[in-house]
Subunit: 225 residues, 2 copies
Amino acid sequence: MSTWTTTGWQSTDVAERRPPELRREAILDAAIRLVARKGFAAVTLRDVAGEVGVAHGLLRHYFASRDQLLASAFDRAVAAELATTCDLDGDPRVALASWLAATPREYYLVWIDAWSEAPRNAALLTALTRHHLACERRLLTIIERGVHDLAFETTSPGDTARILTALADGLAVQHHALGVIDGGEYDGLVYTQAERLLALPPGSLASAARRASAVALKRGEWLAG
Amino acid sequence: MSTWTTTGWQSTDVAERRPPELRREAILDAAIRLVARKGFAAVTLRDVAGEVGVAHGLLRHYFASRDQLLASAFDRAVAAELATTCDLDGDPRVALASWLAATPREYYLVWIDAWSEAPRNAALLTALTRHHLACERRLLTIIERGVHDLAFETTSPGDTARILTALADGLAVQHHALGVIDGGEYDGLVYTQAERLLALPPGSLASAARRASAVALKRGEWLAG
DNA sequence: GGTATCGTTGTCCGCATGGACAATAGAGTA
DNA sequence: TACTCTATTGTCCATGCGGACAACGATACC
């Protein structure tokens, strides 16, 4: 660091040089953390720089603009979430319970914020739609495997996946954004409906969830750093 | 209107004086229209003043701050929506179909934006929660009347109301924010699930919806002005 | 007619923002 | 050592924001 004084440029501090890729990822992680806290619209470049501990001018070295930085941050978070394997090969009931389990709060707040921003941000809409369909597709795969194994029973796996996705989103709004239901109510309602839609015995998903809890916890890791 | 020049204050235009209550309502309507278009965070006082056609300084005459203006605007929209009667006294099937019918786009965009803003804005959270519970309560009333009339059948009216509310919200996100389903798919899925949850014959809600269409259209009026 | 009230205006201020940019320092290389 | 490359810094700028405010004008009341 250096400062302009009447006597010229003087060194006041030492720049902490970092490997570019690590720095870039640190910036993106800080950005998505701030989005979870303040919303896309309220995050400023100075906020992000402060969170990382660098000068705000540096962000321009890594990203062409604020919009591109935020879109990249969301994209990275999405990719990290998609990368978490969901134990697709075990008991379909366990996989289903794991898919349905309440997603961590910070994660859903970003999600809800992206919903509200998407109609006005084409890049965000693209990433959001891709991720939404990937989640739904993953659920559909679980359902189809359960049907094949005779564990589930449904006339339309596609509709069932779509309905369960919508139900999970709607209940997540009630839980995370409004606070009118707690995590236990969320799980209870979503498991009960999934059991009804897939002809499962009542309570079977709650017990499957106990075996799936380790997997469910893994879904929150990308925000922890 | 008057302008400061080197020769002093000179009149350049005539102020359009209005009854204060009408002006106040015009400002609130303009504000909520802009929120639907740009989101809460992006609406500025100058935007609102431009939409109404007044100087931005005037807004301070009616509202203490930008935050209070936006909270009042949301509150007015909420009150207008709650005031639309939903034909609670006729056939419960018609009332249910009317409740479930896809809400106008502009309305839901405000709604979704409020979800994302609520965790950071206590006044908004209060208004939003009140409205959410009022909507759910209205649905619960319809369901209880249908059960009493032997038109519906459910073991837990409260859970059913909560689940249908969540499903409608989640599907509205898929429809309005993401665009992955159209209005017809929205109606079809939501009607099918309501029929399943309330032991109604398949297709009965779609036909009830035809009788309820006039009521459903009325729900969008507050944004038309 | 005079005067108080208040709806309305344009301007000013402090501040924050996104972006541009020259200066700097450290690492690699010849 | 000298030279290049690039990661990093602090400062500067135009813009736009929310808010404060004095001036004006229409209306109502005395």
